[in-house]
Symmetry: C2
Subunit: 455 residues, 2 copies
């Protein structure tokens, strides 16, 4: 790899450094664990995209936009429609995020695959992409978005940006730019065009527009790369300039996060996969409630109260006390605890309209209290259950399942994929897709996976 250490000087040209890296990144130099994690990331993403493919948000987006879509060579995972790659990026990005079940870069709460894999799979419908190039571009895209995220987190998120959407276009631009073979100058333009179209306000959480964010980021990044490839110019210092992305969209940044270790340390190794179909901040509580139920049994009728001690973000993000729909349930830690204690799981079924309006779960939810503990790590939680007879049971989770310290195994990921895909594809197709994902790097043409993911 070339040396990406920044030259001396006051403002480091990080846009150009990142662009040069993305333009030159080669599959030859990727360490084996990185390639392995890329396959895990892609398998997890594809399962989510197939799982969400019949959600009403996806139906609405296809109904709205397909009349205007271009020649249909790119697949919509799990469905029969073919769309142009820009629209396919958007739709696959929506479906992969609509269950809040996709991957998480814990340090920044970015969902890395959505913007990048959605764009890449769609572009595989336009030109043949080998598995090696696909993996390389996936890694490059995730580096770009997560490193930019690292540079501005948490302030950028605190301002109110849904970081997956606001950094996602960088990831898609870098990944598609790599596939298009952009040189450093055009790659910098692609990043610049991406910088000018951030997507996603946190205010949208709880509405369909949340899942629009990674999809639109994928589409915006692909648009940026396509434009740059044809000579559409942009600022070559879009990130670091006085009125560049980092200054405009964050109150603080550390640009060294973008350049240090670039090409030798990989953010994809910090990617995690959710066992539960909701925001990562809820996972420790759900894990605790499931373990509590499995180890001690829980009779909802005899529960007087459930006391949660949680990381501050839990109440900031998921403090809805009276969710009305499955989607709103994903933003209610009270519902999450109640349904996990009742049903012993946290899958999409536990965040359905049915579950959120189940009278027994609604009643139990009303007896759940939550307290913020600023000393509580993000992947930890404590739950104390008090019964009507006064007895209590307490459980503390130090690292929720799915965290970096307790990662999902390959077998766990296959099970999750199967559960998500089962309503949409038959067993043989699911088995074949899982096999293809594990062999991703060896494929001559990734469109094999794209084709196998449709009905």
């Amino acid at each position: 790899m070339p040396d990406h250490a920044p030259p001396a000087g006051k403002v480091v040209p990080v846009t150009r450094i990142l662009a040069e890296y993305a333009a030159a990144a080669s599959p030859e130099t990727l360490p084996a664990p990185v390639r392995k994690e890329a396959a895990r990331t892609f398998l997890n993403w594809l399962g989510c995209a197939i799982g969400g493919c019949r959600h009403e948000a996806v139906d609405a987006a296809i109904a709205a936009l397909s009349p205007f879509a271009g020649p249909g060579r790119s697949v919509v995972a799990g469905r029969t429609e073919r769309l142009d790659p820009l629209n396919a990026s958007l739709i696959n990005g929506i479906s992969s995020h609509v269950f809040d079940f996709d991957d998480t870069h814990l340090r920044t709460v970015i969902h890395p695959a959505g913007p990048v894999a959605s764009a890449l799979l769609a572009y595989a419908g336009v030109q043949p992409i080998s598995g090696r190039d696909f993996v390389n571009a996936l890694v490059v895209g995730i580096e770009a978005e997560c490193r930019i995220g690292n540079a501005v987190y948490p302030e950028h998120y605190d301002v109110g940006w849904h970081i997956t959407g606001s950094v996602g276009a960088f990831g898609a631009a870098a990944a598609i730019g790599r596939i298009l073979g952009l040189d450093g100058e055009r790659m910098a333009w692609a990043l610049g065009i991406a910088a000018s179209q951030p997507v996603g306000l946190r205010e949208m959480f709880g509405s369909m527009t949340k899942s629009f964010h990674p999809g639109r980021a994928a589409q915006n990044g692909m648009t940026a790369a396509l434009l740059a490839a044809k000579g559409y110019t942009s600022s070559p210092q879009a990130l670091e300039a006085k009125r560049g992305w980092m200054n405009v969209l964050s109150t603080r940044h550390d640009a060294r996060e973008i350049t240090e270790g670039l090409g030798s340390q990989f953010e994809i190794l910090a990617n995690t996969y959710k066992p539960f179909a909701c925001g990562i901040v809820m996972h420790p509580v759900i894990d605790a409630c499931i373990q509590l139920r499995e180890e001690h049994g829980v009779d909802a009728g005899s529960v007087r109260s459930v006391a949660l001690r949680v990381h501050p973000l839990v109440l900031e993000l998921t403090g809805k006390t009276a969710p009305q729909s499955g989607l709103e349930g994903k933003f209610s830690i009270y519902h999450a605890a109640a349904v996990a204690l009742t049903e012993g799981d946290g899958g999409e079924e536990q965040f359905s309209d049915r579950a959120v309006n189940d009278p027994a779960i609604v009643a139990l939810r009303g007896r759940v209290n939550a307290t913020v503990d600023t000393a509580m790590p993000a992947d930890a939680a404590q739950v104390v259950l008090t019964r009507t007879d006064g007895t209590t049971t307490e459980i503390r989770i130090d690292h929720a399942i799915g965290s970096l310290a307790r990662p999902m195994s390959d077998r766990d990921l296959e099970r999750k994929f199967t559960g998500l895909a089962a309503p949409h594809l038959d067993d043989d197709a699911i088995r074949r897709l899982i096999d293809l994902c594990w062999r991703l790097e060896a494929l001559d043409d990734v469109s094999l996976i794209a084709e196998a993911s449709t009905r």
Copy 2:
């Protein structure tokens, strides 16, 4: 009109109030001066879109995106291609802004027509739109974007947002939403989806990405309206919420600007049209230099120095001392003064690569100095020319031509349109288009204008 006065309460639901206005706005109630200004706005916009249609930025964007565009019923002004309405919005928005010659809402430096008219003309390729409905939707869209701009200017602009792109999607969403007949709830969703995809960093000024901003805003707003029409949900308080658009994208806002006088006072009446093909902040200096040349004659060889006294924004936005291209020349007040003194004009020809690299103009540019005067109004400037023999001539412009105090006449607008369109359409076509624009309101189907604007 319904009463749009906000109810009492701490946070006024301005998104919903604006949505209800946009959903209910009727052509019946538009005052005559508003309808007249809509025709002037549209004529000026169409001339700019035709004028820019062969710019290399437009060529690059069409080359990049047309392979993926959908069924081609929407025109690209001045050209032969047909595209789907989303891509046509983008391309027309780029071409209408690429000369920096489009309209200006002076209070906010928003270019109102770009995002709104680009979307509307493109949508006229999808369904018949009467002139009355077109004018009504144009007014509604401009109200939405300019009122939101008023609420956050200048802080939002100071943060670094290119306000035309960042508020433009609201305008396009409201306009297309009105054409689609969205009810108040869906119109609010459309505004919400628009809020989540602001476009445009000021860092992009001087590159092709600047003109991408109004085009992408048009496309984003149309996308938002199309999605909302099919039930794609969003936050109904996207503007005013704690993590809504105003709080996230500005350091201050006054939401009363959005609601006060809504439906009875019209921002389109404050729209202005540029006599010169560059940023509005340069116009007083160019006006002064042209008058100085006309009244006193200027022999560049005998000029020792040219001293400009200008509003602070002039040097902040157009302080480039050594522009290399026509586009960069639009961000150099030094070039603008030199070329206006030399050639007596400030048209696209004066901001060409030829003019910027003309040795005599380059030499004169090196003798231009500029001083900020914080007491100088935005539409004023002073120029003092000192000759090698020591004599000086001074001129002060209180209101530049094209400002609200000295508006372009209908005849001026026709002349400007003709100059812009002449390289692309024949005289008969230009005459016919001007006539159609003045009769805009009376047309049964605005696609007549769309068709007449193509080669």
